[in-house]
C-alpha cells in the first residue's frame, strides 16, 4: 500500500517532449510507472517514448483515462498546466508552469505534480485559488522532486535506486536531503511506503499536514519521517496535528538551524522573517507534540527504530 500513487495510477507528462520531460519520463517508465501519454502543444498525434502525445490535457484525459500528471514546463507556463490535468506529472519550464497546473485541474486530473522551480508567488496564489474550484485535484509542488512509491511508480525526479519498498512514510520540503534520508533508510533495511517531496516554495500545493493525514490513513505506513526547513509555519501545523494523537512512530528533522535572519537559503520559501520561521520554533513544536527530533540526518534511522 501507499498514498497518492500506486500501480493503478494512469500518468501523463505535461512537457513530455522537452529534454527534462523526456529524460525523467524514461526513468518513470523504467520502474514500471504506467505512463499513458503526454502533452506538448502542436505535437498532438505524434508518439514519443512509445506513448501518444496530445495537444491538450483534456485530449489526453479523454483518450487515455489519465488521472495523474507530472508537469515539466518552464515557470510562467506551469501554473496553468496544473489547472488542466488530474493525475499529471508536470515537467514544464516556469513561464508556462502555473498555466500547466490549472490546465491539469480543469481537465479532471486528480494528482498533479509540478517539478518546475521559479514560479512567481503571485501566480501560485492564483493557482491555489483556482484549485478551490476543483476539490478533487491534489497538487504536489511546485519546486519539488515529486513522489515515489518504491518498486511501483513515481512522478518526478526522485532516483528509484536509493529507495526500497516498506513501511516508512517520508515527507519533505527538500530534494537532495530527501534522497539522503531515503538512502540511509534503505541501507538500514527500513523501506518506504511513499516518499513525497512537497517543495521549497512559500506557496505550495499539499502541505505537511495534508500528506501526514494521508499517511495516517494508510495501513501500510507505520513510521513517519518529516524533513522540514526554516521559513513559514507548516512544520508547526504538522506538529500540532501529530500532537493530537498519531499511530505513526515519527521522527522530525529541520534544516537551517544556523541560517541568518532575512536571507533566502536557496529555496524561495526558506527564509526567516523577524523571529518567525526559525528552526528552533519548529523543533520545539515537534518536541511538544511528543515527536522525536533528530539533530543530524545521521540520527534519523536510529531514532526511528
Amino acid at each position: 500500500m501507499s498514498i497518492l500513487l500506486d500501480a493503478s495510477s494512469r500518468v501523463i507528462v505535461q512537457g513530455i517532449t522537452g529534454r527534462e520531460g523526456t529524460f525523467h519520463t524514461e526513468q518513470m517508465m523504467a520502474m514500471g510507472t504506467k505512463v499513458v501519454g503526454g502533452t506538448s502543444p502542436g505535437k498532438g498525434g505524434t508518439t514519443h517514448l512509445g506513448v501518444p502525445v496530445f495537444n491538450t490535457v483534456a485530449d489526453a484525459v479523454k483518450a487515455t483515462g489519465a488521472n495523474a500528471s507530472g508537469i515539466f514546463v518552464p515557470p510562467p507556463f506551469a501554473a496553468d498546466a496544473i489547472m488542466e490535468a488530474a493525475a499529471s506529472g508536470i515537467f514544464v519550464p516556469p513561464p508556462f508552469a502555473a498555466d500547466a497546473i490549472m490546465e491539469a485541474a480543469a481537465s479532471g486530473i486528480g494528482l498533479i505534480v509540478c517539478i518546475t522551480e521559479g514560479i512567481p508567488i503571485q501566480e501560485m496564489i492564483n493557482v491555489k485559488d483556482f484549485l478551490r474550484g476543483y476539490p478533487a485535484a491534489r497538487l504536489i509542488g511546485a519546486n519539488c522532486p515529486g513522489l515515489i512509491t518504491p518498486g511501483v511508480a513515481k512522478i518526478g525526479i526522485i532516483p528509484q535506486n536509493i529507495t526500497s519498498a516498506g513501511h516508512v512514510g517520508l515527507v519533505s520540503r527538500s530534494g537532495t536531503l530527501t534522497y539522503e534520508v531515503a538512502s540511509a533508510l534503505s541501507a538500514s533495511g527500513m523501506g518506504q511506503s511513499t516518499i513525497v517531496g512537497i517543495g521549497g516554495d512559500p506557496v505550495l500545493g499539499l502541505t505537511f499536514r495534508d500528506v501526514i493525514e494521508l499517511f495516517e490513513q494508510d495501513p501500510a505506513t507505520t513510521h513517519l519521517v518529516v524533513i522540514g526547513e526554516i521559513g513559514g509555519t507548516d512544520e508547526e501545523h504538522a506538529a500540532e496535528l501529530l500532537g493530537r494523537g498519531s499511530r505513526l512512530k515519527t521522527v522530525a528533522f529541520i534544516s537551517g538551524r544556523t541560517a541568518p535572519e532575512g536571507k533566502r537559503m536557496g529555496h524561495a520559501g526558506a527564509i526567516i522573517s523577524g523571529n518567525r520561521g526559525t528552526a528552533k520554533s519548529k523543533e520545539e513544536a515537534f518536541r511538544k507534540a511528543g515527536v522525536a527530533v533528530a539533530e543530524t540526518t545521521d540520527e534519523i534511522v536510529g531514532l526511528l527504530r
Partner: protein, 378 residues
C-alpha cells in the same frame, strides 16, 4: 528584491499615490542643494532594513548647511551591515494622524492579505501582538482584486470610516503593485493624513518577487546597482550560482538547498562557522563545481572548503574527477574535504584520496574533519 525607501516611493508615485516632495542626494552638496530647494527636510539613510532612525540614520535639517553636515555623517555609515549609498532629503509633513496600510503574502493562507490599522507609525508586528483587534484584514480574490464594498468594509472595520473615500481609492492604487509589479510585500507606514486633509505616504516598503524578475527588468536596471552588495554574492550571481554570504571561515558547496543548509548546521555543530551557502543544484557538473569553488576562494577569510554532494543517479567517480581538475585549475592550496555519495562512490573516494583530497565517510564526519583542518592552520 527589496527596494529602498526612495525607490519604493517613486514606484508608489507611478501608481498614483501622493508622496512628500523629496530629492535623492549622493553627496553632502546634493543634500544642501535639496534643502535650499525644498526648505526644512529630513535627511534619511537609504538602507533596506528597519531601525535606521535608532542607528542615527535620520536627521532633521533646517538649513542647507545642516543638510550638508547631516548627509556627510550619514552617507557611508554602516547600518546593520549595509553601507549607506545615498540619502533621501524629504520635506516634513504637517501630520494630523498616522495610519498603517500594507499587504503581504500570508503563507499559511496561501493568499495575499491586506491590512489596515488606525495605529500607524508603529511596527505592525508590535500592533499585531498588543492589539490584534485594531488591524482590519482582507484576503482579496487574487483574480479580480479587492472590490469596492470589501474595501469600504475594511476601512470602517479599522475605524477609519471618515476617510473612506480617499482610503478606498488609495488602497486600490497600492494593490496594483501585485498584478503590475509582482510585489510580495508593500507597506505604507505611516500613511499620513495631513492637517489640510491630504493622504500621503510617509514611508514606503516594497519587495518584488525574485521569481518574476524577468518580467521587470526595468526595476533591476533602475535600482539594482544602488546598494553595494557583498562582492562574492555579486560575482556568484553573474555566474548563475545560488550563493549567500555568511560570516565564517569555512567555504561550503552542496547540491540542493536543504542539503546545503544542513551542511552549514553540521559545520557549526562541529565547532566551525560557514563562510557561505552555495547550492550547485543536481548533477554536480564539473564546470559548475569549478565556478563555485572559484568564487568561494576569492574570499580571503576562507580557510578551507567542505563540499557535500549527494549523487543519487550522479556518478561519484565523475564528480571526483571534475573536482580534482577544478582544484588543480584553480591551484587551490587550502584544505578541501569532500563528502560524496551516489553510484560508484567508492571509486570516487579512491580518486579523491589519490589526489590528496580528504573524503568524509558521511556528512558529519566530513564536517568535523574540515573544522579540525582549518583549526590547525589558524
Amino acid at each position: 528584491m527589496k527596494l529602498l525607501e526612495y525607490q519604493a516611493k517613486e514606484v508608489l508615485a507611478s501608481l498614483g499615490i501622493a508622496i512628500p516632495p523629496g530629492k535623492v542626494a549622493r553627496t553632502p552638496d546634493d543634500a544642501a542643494a535639496a534643502c535650499a530647494e525644498l526648505g526644512p527636510v529630513a535627511v534619511k539613510a537609504q538602507v533596506p532594513v528597519g531601525g535606521r532612525g535608532k542607528a542615527g540614520g535620520i536627521k532633521l535639517a533646517r538649513t542647507p548647511d545642516e543638510a550638508r553636515a547631516a548627509a556627510a555623517q550619514i552617507i557611508g555609515m554602516d547600518i546593520k551591515g549595509f553601507k549607506v549609498p545615498l540619502v533621501y532629503c524629504e520635506s516634513a509633513l504637517e501630520i494630523e494622524r498616522e495610519i498603517y496600510l500594507g499587504f503581504t503574502v500570508d503563507r499559511d493562507a496561501r493568499a495575499n492579505i491586506l491590512m489596515l490599522s488606525a495605529k500607524g507609525g508603529m511596527e505592525i508586528e508590535q500592533v499585531a501582538e498588543e492589539s490584534p483587534e485594531s488591524i482590519a484584514r482582507l484576503y482579496p480574490n487574487p483574480w479580480r482584486g479587492p472590490l469596492d464594498f470589501e474595501l469600504n468594509q475594511l476601512v470602517f472595520e479599522a475605524g477609519l470610516g471618515e476617510f473612506s473615500r480617499p482610503l478606498t481609492s488609495l488602497i486600490k492604487k497600492l494593490y496594483r503593485a501585485i498584478p503590475e509589479l509582482d510585489a510580495v510585500t508593500a507597506e505604507i507606514n505611516p500613511l499620513v493624513v495631513t492637517k489640510s486633509g491630504e493622504v500621503i505616504a510617509g514611508d514606503a516598503k516594497l519587495e518584488v518577487d525574485e521569481n518574476s524578475a524577468w518580467r521587470h527588468k526595468d526595476l533591476e536596471q533602475r535600482y539594482g546597482g544602488v546598494l553595494e552588495g557583498d562582492p562574492y554574492e555579486v560575482e556568484a550571481k553573474k555566474r548563475g550560482l545560488t550563493y549567500v554570504a555568511l560570516d565564517g571561515e569555512i567555504g561550503i558547496i552542496g547540491n540542493g538547498a536543504g542539503l546545503c543548509m544542513s551542511t552549514l548546521d553540521l559545520v557549526q555543530r562541529a565547532g566551525g562557522k560557514a563562510a557561505n551557502f552555495c547550492d550547485i543544484g543536481g548533477g554536480a557538473k564539473a564546470e559548475v563545481v569549478q565556478s563555485a569553488l572559484a568564487v568561494i576562494l576569492m574570499n580571503p577569510r576562507v580557510r578551507g572548503v567542505l563540499m557535500n554532494v549527494f549523487g543519487g543517479i550522479t556518478r561519484g567517480d565523475e564528480v571526483a574527477k571534475g573536482l580534482v581538475a577544478a582544484r588543480d585549475n584553480l591551484k587551490m592550496q587550502l584544505p578541501l574535504v569532500v563528502r560524496l555519495s551516489g553510484t560508484r562512490e567508492a571509486e570516487g573516494r579512491k580518486i579523491l584520496k589519490e589526489n590528496g583530497i580528504e573524503p568524509g565517510a558521511n556528512a558529519w564526519e566530513a564536517a568535523q574533519k574540515i573544522v579540525e583542518l582549518t583549526r590547525v592552520r589558524a
